[in-house]
Subunit: 259 residues, 2 copies
């Protein structure tokens, strides 16, 4: 990192995260548009108060229930996710017995190889798919459709942190149960998914893993009821109203952003 | 550009802008953190409906009045501004008889030189300052304090599109009248400025130039009254409430983002 971010800066965590992503881009792990996407996320996270809101806590429980009751769960990884949350994703995959697959929107073989190697550093023996795709997600053009039968393609439930809207919708059309992590409650990904955690990825992935550990002893039929009873659109609506309340308060008192 | 963005894509303009910025980064005009900052702007612009809101139209009129009545106006340029709005900034500087100065947060001599050359392509003979700084903005450490006596340092009124919060506050402490263009109504820049246009830079700069042309015949005393009567905090509050209303509506109808 080429920046010295004071530990007492009110937005220290956010600034450190940004630096990590910038370094990951210089190392060829993250695409340029990943930095733009991260900035969009920062703005929405700022509006949430840079903390996990109650709606995300609830969604994390449902996400954990969905992964635990899946026959073949899979966690999808892209550049930003690996740069920011590789170890948490490995932990989650182990806890829920899920496959791990690197899957890129701007796919190059070189970048996939770098990302697989990066995850393997912390994978503790768990296989990381993505290098040898043998299937395509129907309805998507270009290399972003490539995936693995043992991973995304064959999965019944997928966790897609920071996913592209097109691809999220295509996974839904394949009949999969889709769990998304997306800070923008209005994005197509957030809206198309079955369970959406509107939360920052470094906070959200450990939250799902924690919920999975807590729910591991629960009878599968009870977990299925949790998933079945979930109203994702209503939860997203509550997040939007929460942000609106916050903006109204800020508009009344004309605050100064410490960042 | 390496992406083919369909002309009928509902967010075509936003996607083309993002590509321009990515290309500018590859050419060394834009810093990595400029891409993150652009992403933050995209999110706020999305919340505004990707259009110029009435509050920005009003602020543009006041901004034009401030520049027209200034003794020594200056328009500050950074990487993102040059990549997206160089020609509009030149047009605005000509219309208001303002100096143009390239001024970078992450300053390197190489990047300043590239940016000055880029603006000069469209400057039509207008001088672009920034290559030979001879003064420092008080209270700022590092090279981001460097500026020119004939430009930012000596100016009584400055237009800072997409400015860093620290530097905006330092310019205020120097007693300057600061006009900012910033999509985040909560940013320190937006809050510290005397006149803030909460608008996207490629829409906002031409808007100020147009207002300046319309107001050029107005007696200076009348223009000074326009500037004096402006309540920037109240205008920012109205923008926040506008965004809140929009989020409440979206939360009620659970829409799908076309992007």
């Amino acid at each position: 990192m080429d920046a010295n971010i004071p530990k007492d800066h009110p937005r220290h965590r956010s600034l450190v995260t940004r630096e990590r992503l910038k370094d990951a881009m210089r190392r060829g792990l993250v695409h340029e548009t990943g930095l733009v996407a991260h900035g969009r996320g920062e703005a929405f996270d700022y509006l949430l108060g840079e903390q996990t809101v109650p709606e995300a806590h609830e969604a994390a429980r449902v996400a954990a229930a969905a992964l635990l009751t899946a026959k073949r769960p899979c966690v999808s990884l892209n550049g930003n996710v690996v740069a920011l949350a590789a170890a948490s994703c490995v932990d989650l995959a182990k806890t829920t017995d899920a496959a791990l697959e690197v899957n890129l929107f701007h796919r190059t073989e070189e970048r996939v190889a770098k990302l697989v190697a990066e995850v393997q550093k912390v994978a503790d023996g768990v296989t990381v798919l993505g290098l040898h795709p043998d299937a395509r997600i129907p309805g998507l053009s270009s290399d972003r459709a490539l995936c693995s039968t043992k991973g995304l393609y064959g999965a019944d439930t997928v966790l897609v942190p920071l996913e592209d809207g097109d691809r999220c919708e295509a996974l839904k059309r394949m009949g999969k149960l889709v769990v998304a992590i997306d800070l923008n409650p209005l994005s197509r990904t957030a809206q198309a998914a079955d369970v959406t955690l509107v939360d920052e990825v470094t906070r959200a992935v450990p939250l799902v893993a924690k919920a999975a550990r807590e729910l591991r002893g629960t009878p599968p039929d009870d977990l299925r009821l949790v998933v079945k009873g979930w109203d994702n659109r209503a939860n997203l609506g509550r997040v939007l109203h929460r942000i609106a309340r916050r903006l109204d308060q800020l508009g009344d008192r004309s605050p100064v952003d410490p960042g």
